[in-house]
Subunit: 97 residues, 2 copies
Amino acid sequence: MAKLPDDKTLDKMESLLNVASDFTRLKIMYSISDSEKSVSEIVEEVGASQSLVSHQLKVLKKANLVTTRKEKTKVFYKLADHHIVELLSVVYEHVTE
Amino acid sequence: MAKLPDDKTLDKMESLLNVASDFTRLKIMYSISDSEKSVSEIVEEVGASQSLVSHQLKVLKKANLVTTRKEKTKVFYKLADHHIVELLSVVYEHVTE
DNA sequence: GCCATATATGAACATCCTTTCATATTTCAA
DNA sequence: TTGAAATATGAAAGGATGTTCATATATGGC
């Protein structure tokens, strides 16, 4: 395994893991892992309140885990890159083996 | 990407990510990623207090991320399996690309 | 048994986080 | 421009979490 990363890198790793480590946000990430979805669609799929989903989407966006596209009154969210899916896969494999 | 896992699995994923998402614990995991180490060696390498390291090792052990081996007065810790290293790698790649 | 070393534990504190509730903002249609 | 739909925001409550400090427990050598 590689050497211990410097503190700055470890900080970023901690942040990423922190953002990923939430039940609601995990559901949201899975919800948009196939294709982009509007907030209301995510709310529907995830089964959480509109407010909560909006708050958590903001967290995900601030951490650059998702990107957005606006169309009329709707806002579509999707995962920022493939690393996110890989991360979810590795974690999923670990807990379901 | 796969379907949304059931709540039980998501709970486990959340727990694993939660445990991994801490600065001190990340350092500890890297410290023992090459080979097993005693608590005092980990304390030395990580640069945190003995108490903190012991507390966090307990967290890691409870989550089954590490295993232990006792020898005389020393306790050696090592990563439980290869998934942990993979997880660290994926996260590292994401934040350093 | 007694001491020194290694490790673990418990309480306390401060900080951060998730969630809810109420409300604000934006955008379009009529 | 008024209303409705979609999304975002702010404050507040409640619980969880990381860290420190002091102390306890265990183990082996003498």
